[in-house]
């Protein structure tokens, strides 16, 4: 079970993780993109952090929608509309809810991933954030359906995202700015997949603390 307070704590932790890793994300993006992923995402999450105090009495749907709106308004790069859509679609699923069961969390997770696919007109295997998010969602959903509780299911999910990030090193980019590099994108891990992993790790860290 996750409540509004936990969601706010997860978003706070994700913002701090992105801030602390922004130079690494930017370095990854310098190698195969336009070198702004870390800076852009940190700017976006900073504006989210500034709004956290106003979220306290809101339902989870409203919180996630506000996060999405803030990201799309302030990030400035592709990760803005992509993560913005992800949070807004997850928010739609959680409308009016102050707590989420594990099944409802899975449903929101799915809506977020489908949102990224829709906005980016993208699929797995194109060296994008989806190469972390899709296996992460499948692992979580599989865990919950198989009777696992929230934290073990999310541990599986983070591990799957980690493997997904590693997988991006082995494939050629066919979406996003890295696609211009063609085979020169090989050997580099995708910055978007990496930031997706960080957000999931932040969620796991918060829930483990209880």
């Amino acid at each position: 079970m996750i409540d509004s307070k936990k969601i706010i704590a997860i978003i706070d932790a994700a913002a701090k993780k992105i801030e602390s890793e922004k130079d690494f994300l930017t370095q990854l993006d310098n190698e195969i993109g336009d070198g702004d992923h870390g800076i852009n995402l940190a700017r976006g999450f900073k504006s989210v952090e500034e709004k956290l105090a106003t979220f306290a009495d809101k339902d989870i749907g409203a919180i996630l929608k506000s996060v999405g709106t803030a990201l799309v308004s302030t990030v400035g790069g592709a990760s803005g509309p992509l993560y913005g859509t992800a949070f807004m679609k997850a928010g739609n699923v959680c409308k009016g809810k102050f707590t989420l069961t594990d099944e409802e969390f899975a449903e929101a997770f799915n809506a977020a991933v489908e949102g990224v696919k829709m906005r980016g007109k993208s699929a797995e295997g194109e060296k994008t954030m989806l190469d972390a998010l899709c296996p992460a969602y499948r692992a979580f959903k599989g865990g919950v359906d198989g009777g696992k509780t929230l934290i073990p299911a999310l541990e599986d999910s983070v591990n799957a995202a980690m493997q997904g990030v590693e997988y991006t090193k082995t494939i050629i980019a066919t979406k996003g700015r890295a696609a211009y590099l063609q085979e020169r994108s090989l050997g580099h891990q995708d910055p978007g997949a990496t930031s997706s992993l960080y957000i999931l790790q932040a969620a796991l860290d918060v829930l483990k603390k209880g």
């Binding site: 990030v75 400035g76 790069g77 509309p81 992509l82 980016g120």
Partner: protein, 121 residues
């Protein structure tokens, strides 16, 4: 007249494309939405929304965008905005802007211009 909005990661590029379009069609309703609020490279949801609203009439508005987030952010603005007849068109940015500007001043409708940009360029 049909309005035109130029969306780019760069304020200079958006304004430059607007200049070139105005060179051939001085009176065209056109607005540039380039860069972030502070002028840095990137695309701004608010700038795009404000640009569309600033030139919108019932004749409609065509939005032309450069790459990546410019396209995706424009899509989000168009999903949210409560105006009919605003369309994002996929075509070469500079040529598309010039053709759209000339045809707008020449009295072509929104759909006629979109059809030309999508099929003849």
């Amino acid at each position: 007249m049909v309005g035109i909005v130029i969306v780019s990661h760069s304020q200079k590029l958006a304004e430059g494309v607007m200049e070139v379009a105005q060179m051939t069609a001085a009176n065209v309703p056109i607005a540039a939405a380039g860069g972030l609020e502070n002028g840095e490279l990137g695309t701004s949801y608010d700038k795009i929304k404000n640009a569309v609203e600033s030139i919108y009439t019932d004749d409609g508005v065509i939005v032309l965008a450069d790459i990546g987030s410019a396209v995706m952010t424009t899509e989000m603005v168009l999903e949210d905005i409560e105006l009919d007849n605003v369309k994002l068109v996929d075509c070469p940015l500079v040529e598309g802007a010039v053709v759209a500007a000339v045809d707008s001043v020449g009295g072509r409708t929104l759909n006629e211009i979109i059809n030309k940009l999508e099929n003849e360029m």
